[in-house]
């Protein structure tokens, strides 16, 4: 069997609690990252991503505490992102038991951060997350991609999609890979929250240009969406939140569907 495609639930964490609605059956304290991590791990999730959205000065200690508790509770790989701006932030997370750190806005603003982190911890620890919007206005010097919407280019956004940067996502991914990125987490801001399917064209365009694994994110709503992005979209892994949180399609259902349709998957 070849390398399995990965299914990755994503958890947004604020002050050590999972936010966004969570609706697991028989889960007493919905919102506890450790319980949710355990539940997903028992459900054969291949990896977990925690996105820390805490915006306060005591952030470091809170992050360290829950990362340690999660590491103590599960034995599948997990990534922590959100507010990692330097080597010391990353060390704090990795030495508390996380396997990878994810950086996004900080990397766009200071690309050398990727090299600094990758030199110290190894590139396999460094996930570069890119939030992308499809730009329909032709612009010079951008990689034009033919899509169902016509010719477009993919624009990097920062600050959770609030700020358009004018940077071409494919060019940025290539640069980030050269600087030491070990993996990409590509989120389509156009698709995020729509449950209408991943952005296949975006994912495929990035995946064809880089030589490290690509995680697709944004838009998952049905098992078929996972199939599409892991085959046509050429993604190595697919990440989702609400389909899993609301127990609409638990991880085993998605995996079973993928297995039956011939996608290599760990069961």
């Amino acid at each position: 069997m070849p390398l399995a495609k990965r299914i990755i639930p994503c958890l947004d964490v604020d002050h050590g609690k999972v936010v966004k609605g969570v609706n697991f059956l028989q889960l007493k304290h919905a919102g506890d990252p450790v319980e949710m991590a355990k539940r997903y791990s028992d459900d054969q999730a291949d990896e977990l991503v925690f996105l820390d959205i805490t915006a306060s000065h005591e952030k470091r200690d809170i992050m360290r505490q829950y990362v340690e508790r999660v590491a103590d509770a599960i034995n599948i790989p997990f990534t922590v992102g959100g507010g990692i701006r330097n080597v010391s932030d990353a060390r704090n997370i990795l030495c508390s038991g996380a396997d990878k750190v994810s950086i996004n806005t900080a990397a766009v603003e200071k690309p050398m951060l990727i090299t600094e982190l990758s030199d110290v911890f190894g590139r396999q620890c460094i996930v570069v997350a890119i939030d992308v919007k499809c730009n329909l206005t032709p612009a010079e010097g951008k990689v034009t991609v033919q899509t169902s919407k016509g010719p477009v280019w993919f624009e990097v956004t920062t600050y959770g999609g609030r700020k358009a940067t004018g940077i071409d996502a494919i060019a940025w991914a290539l640069q980030a890979e050269k600087l030491g990125a070990g993996e990409f987490l590509i989120t389509s801001m156009d698709k995020d929250g729509t449950e209408s399917g991943f952005d296949i064209e975006l994912t495929c365009a990035i995946s064809e240009h880089v030589h490290v694994p690509v995680i697709a994110s944004g838009g998952a709503g049905l098992p078929q969406h996972f199939y599409d992005v892991l085959t046509t979209g050429k993604a190595d892994a697919a990440l989702a939140a609400s389909v899993f949180h609301y127990n609409k399609y638990p991880v085993p259902i998605i995996k079973n569907y993928l297995h039956k349709t011939g996608v290599p998957i760990r069961q």
């Binding site: 069997m1 070849p2 034995n75 060390r91 396999q124």
Partner: protein, 201 residues
């Protein structure tokens, strides 16, 4: 009371392996001093960092480790830990611990590198480390290099990524895994449980 030590020889995540071993009822301590190794009944060399700095950091512990292996103390190397058991690595200069003859080479071909994710074990030789592990079980890999042992008979498991490579290597009391049992779910825990049983015997 068995004294098992996870040897800290650099940066990175040592807690996961400690927690995973504790979960299978095998308490370990993390030690960074040569003295910690000298007193150990079992040693775990975890998988963090890259070859050359690791070799440099292990220099002071080299003779002690060799002595422990000669005494028959079980030694488990994970990922880079396993690669250090060989003589040399394409990742950088320096001489490995040379418990196994052979070298560590880069994954090559039209592949995404690192080899990251869940892949299967083809158990090619019975070994107590893989007791109760079904052939074809998935385990978690993150690596860009793999070992090529001169002596094929020490290879217990193989894994395919572009080409078939040795993912589990065992010779007497020296156990090496290219994957991460501490990140490999229930299969990984069973492998660690098996290691604990070997140590206690």
């Amino acid at each position: 009371m068995v004294k098992a030590v996870v040897f800290d020889y650099g940066v990175g995540n040592l807690l996961s392996i400690k927690y995973a071993l504790e979960r299978v009822g095998f308490p370990v301590s993390i030690g960074s001093e040569v003295q910690d190794l000298a007193e150990a009944d079992a040693i775990i060399l975890p998988g963090v960092g890259s070859f050359t700095p690791a070799v440099e950091k292990l220099e002071c512990a080299r003779e002690v480790l060799k002595g422990k292996v000669a005494e028959g103390v079980p030694l488990l190397g994970i990922c880079l830990g396993l690669q250090l058991f060989f003589e040399e690595s394409a990742e950088g200069s320096g001489v490995g611990l040379a418990f196994f003859k052979g070298k560590v080479v880069r994954l090559q071909g039209d592949l995404k590198i690192p080899h990251m994710g869940w892949n299967t074990l083809d158990i090619v030789k019975p070994c107590e480390l893989f007791d109760d592990i079904p052939n074809g079980s998935y385990v978690y890999f993150v690596h860009s290099l793999y070992p090529v042992p001169v002596d094929e008979s020490i290879v217990c498991t193989k894994t395919f990524y572009g080409a078939s490579f040795a993912s589990g290597v065992v010779d007497k009391n020296v156990f090496g895994l290219q994957f991460h049992p501490e990140k490999s779910g229930d299969v990984g825990l069973q492998i660690l449980r098996n290691f604990a049983r070997v140590v206690r015997r």
